[in-house]
């Protein structure tokens, strides 16, 4: 692996920015497009990961460890959030008998 990485040419940081933004926006599109709450949740995970990627990229390019530490904590929070979120989703399914996000419309004018 070391010699593989020895013949390295620099990937400019803009590429990482592009990649990360693209993934983020795909995530946004997923959240807005799909009605299935599970898929919406997964798109949110995608968004989180896009951000993680950018953090790590900046951290590596600037040679500062804070970015990676932050990614560590993001992962922690994401894990906790998924646990609770999925629990909620299961409860909603028990009530409405569907995972359609359009089914939850009572909190309106």
């Amino acid at each position: 692996m070391q010699e593989l990485l020895q013949n390295v040419r620099l990937v400019p940081i803009e590429h990482y920015i592009w990649l990360s933004s693209l993934l983020f926006c795909i995530g946004v599109m997923g959240v807005l497009l799909r009605r299935n709450t599970i898929v919406m949740f997964m798109s949110i995970e995608l968004m989180l990961n896009a951000v993680n990627l950018l953090f790590v990229a900046f951290s590596a390019y600037a040679n500062k460890p804070e970015g990676e530490v932050f990614v560590f904590f993001v992962m922690v929070v994401a894990a906790a959030e998924v646990a609770v979120g999925l629990g909620l989703l299961v409860m909603i399914y028990r009530n409405q008998n569907t995972t359609d996000s359009e089914a939850l419309q009572t909190l309106k004018w």
Binding site: V28, R35, S101, E102, L104, K108, W109
Partner: protein, 633 residues
């Protein structure tokens, strides 16, 4: 503080304390106690005024008390200051003296009235303001007193507030006064604008160098006179005074005969140094006074209400006072105020005694032959009538003749007009006297059995006032009789420089006197012929056949004219603004605001449709906008 200053403050504040006590505690006090309080506070004031007077002579210097600085704005400084000089001395004697007599009278007159305590409270309040008016050292304090007496006049005219007509009369008096006050304020503002002070002494010094006939000063004094017009009931602001007879008779006696209505004359006399510099205004005053004197006298010929006749007579006599002022004889104007206060108060109180005896009957058509039943009232009323007619040596003769003499010196033709006014005065006053006391009683027999003389609280003031009406004229004996007899001119000499009265010879003066006395006697005889035997019974205005007399009985329909010219258009404008502008336009705008908010919120609430997809989309769009904004700007 010296004794004189303390006395002045006692004189000023005693009625105020009385008013405060009676108005705050009034309901819980028994009537007798309230009456005693009411009379004694004014009596204290009178004693203070008397003591002050005894220490004052013609050479005494005026003194001033400054209680505190009321306000100061820029270079202008107005203090709550009071001043005492010879003019104030005499006015205070009149106000507190006649005031205490009328308070005593009211104890008897208002005895059965349930508002008895309130009445004394208001009356004390009035005396306080009147004293404030005449002792004010600057025009602002005087104006405060001016407004205060207007207020008390309103409260007292509408004293029997359950009758709406009386309330309307009170309102009319107040509003008409206010119209005059507008002129007064304009005059005050003009004066302070130029001379930067309200203080009388400072003003006198400030105008020392002004030329006679200065246009600015003429306008200012004319405005001041408009204020006097309102307060002292001259043409055209006189119609409130006859209507003010709706108040109880002691009120008419005190306020609308002896004191408040003389405030206008006080104003002119106090600021005589301004008026002497503006002969145009003085001419204006003269003509207005002359017109009023004659006009009101003609109306009095055909009135049937005993108090209305006396009211018009007051308006007429006030006209005479202004005639005196208009000829530049300021001290003479005050002289007539002095004598008029006594006999007019006497006449009003006498009328009140008659009204009281007849159980509040005021119409002369139902009176007559009361000579035997009310002897004390009769004799004092006769004295008062002779005094007002102007027969020597009673009070009215000296003051009235001095006015006529001054007027003759100015213009003999105007003297003729004024003489006609005084003759008419004699005629209608004696008409009044004969209709009430001579002939046979024209009322119903039931009340005839109840007629009895009034209690001592009412007859003693009558007697005292009658005595004063006889001797009051002696303070101003003209030079033609006695070289140093004119005590009044001498007393006021330091304050108001009195040049040799009129410059007409002694012979002319005696002739004028003779002419007027003879003419008055002739009028008395005519009145006796017409009314004295009790054959002619007056008729009401509707039954009047002669059109000229009908006009007089209807008071020349001035009230209707004012209603047509001023009141009706004003009401129409108010209706327009009230119904159209206020209710529809302004309320419409306000309501439109409300419904606009409702409509907008009705539209905006549709954003909350409860669908998560919409919310998420909105959030994304928001983020885009924020980022874009940061990028672009």
């Amino acid at each position: 503080m010296s004794t004189t200053e303390i006395l002045l403050l006692v004189c000023l504040l005693a009625p105020l304390s009385g008013a405060g006590l009676l108005l705050i505690l009034g309901r819980s006090l028994p009537k007798a106690v309230a009456a005693v309080f009411g009379v004694s506070f004014i009596a204290i004031s009178f004693i203070a005024a008397l003591l002050l007077f005894m220490q004052t002579s013609a050479e005494s210097a005026a003194f001033k008390i400054n209680l505190f600085t009321w306000f100061s704005a820029g270079k202008l400084n107005v203090d709550m200051a009071f001043r005492y000089d010879q003019l104030t001395a005499l006015f205070l004697l009149v106000i507190t003296g006649i005031g205490s007599l009328i308070h005593l009278y009211s104890a008897g007159y208002m005895h059965e009235d349930e508002g008895h305590n309130r009445f004394f409270g208001y009356l004390n309040f009035f005396v306080f303001f009147m004293i404030m008016l005449v002792t004010g050292a600057n025009m602002v304090v005087m104006f405060a007193g001016w407004e205060g007496v207007g207020l008390c006049s309103y409260l007292l005219i509408g004293f029997w507030y359950k009758n709406n007509d009386y309330n309307l009369a009170a309102r009319k008096a107040f509003v008409m006064n206010r119209i005059g006050d507008l002129g007064l304020l304009a005059g005050l503002f003009m004066l302070v604008n130029k001379y930067n002070t309200f203080d009388f002494e400072a003003l006198q010094n400030a105008v020392a160098g002004v030329q006679t006939g200065d246009a600015y000063l003429t306008t200012a004094t004319a405005c001041l006179f408009i204020g006097a017009m309102g307060k002292s009931a001259q043409i055209p602001l006189f119609t409130w005074l006859p209507d003010a007879m709706a108040g109880p008779t002691p009120v008419s006696a005190l306020i609308h005969a002896a004191t408040m209505v003389t405030a206008g004359i006080y104003l002119v006399v106090r600021t005589h140094f301004l008026f002497s510099l503006t002969p145009a205004t003085l001419d204006f005053i003269l003509y207005i006074g002359l017109a009023t004197a004659l006009f009101a006298a003609t109306i009095g010929l055909r009135q049937n209400d005993i108090k209305k006749v006396l009211a018009y007579s007051t308006v007429s006599q006030l006209g005479f006072m202004f005639i005196a002022l208009g000829t530049g004889a300021f001290a003479t104007g005050f002289f007539h105020v002095f004598t008029h206060a006594f006999f007019k108060a006497l006449l009003f109180l006498g009328a009140g005694s008659v009204i009281h005896a007849l159980h509040h009957e005021q119409d002369m058509r139902f009176m007559g032959g009361l000579k035997k039943k009310l002897p004390l009232t009769w004799i004092t009323f006769l004295i008062g009538t002779i005094a007002i007619a102007g027969l020597p040596p009673f009070a009215g003769f000296f003051s009235k003749d001095e006015i006529l003499a001054h007027l003759y010196a100015k213009n003999p033709m105007l003297w003729g007009v004024a003489l006609l006014g005084s003759l008419l005065t004699a005629f209608y006053m004696f008409r009044l006297y004969y209709l009430v006391f001579h002939g046979t009683y024209r009322g119903d027999s039931h009340s005839a059995s109840h007629i009895h003389e009034s209690p001592w609280t009412m007859t003693m003031p009558l007697a005292i006032l009658a005595l004063c009406s006889i001797v009051a004229g002696l303070i101003g004996i003209p030079a033609v009789f006695s070289e140093h007899g004119h005590w009044l001119n001498h007393f006021l000499g330091k304050l108001i420089p009195v040049h040799h009265p009129h410059g007409i010879s002694h012979a002319t003066e005696l002739t004028l006197m003779g002419v007027s006395v003879t003419a008055v006697l002739v009028m008395v005889a005519i009145a006796f012929r017409v009314y004295g035997q009790g054959k002619v019974v007056p008729v009401s205005a509707e039954e009047e056949t002669n059109p000229f007399f009908r006009l007089l009985a209807d008071k020349y329909r001035i009230d209707e004219l004012y209603h047509f010219l001023f009141v009706a258009p004003f009401n129409a404008i108010s209706q327009f603004f009230g119904k159209l502008i206020d209710a529809q336009v302004i309320d419409g705008i306000v309501n439109a605001m409300g419904s606009l908010a409702m409509t907008l919120s009705g539209m905006l609430r549709l954003l909350h449709n409860g669908r998560i997809g919409t919310y998420l989309l909105a959030m994304t769009v928001g983020v885009i906008l924020v980022l874009a904004y940061n990028l672009i700007f």
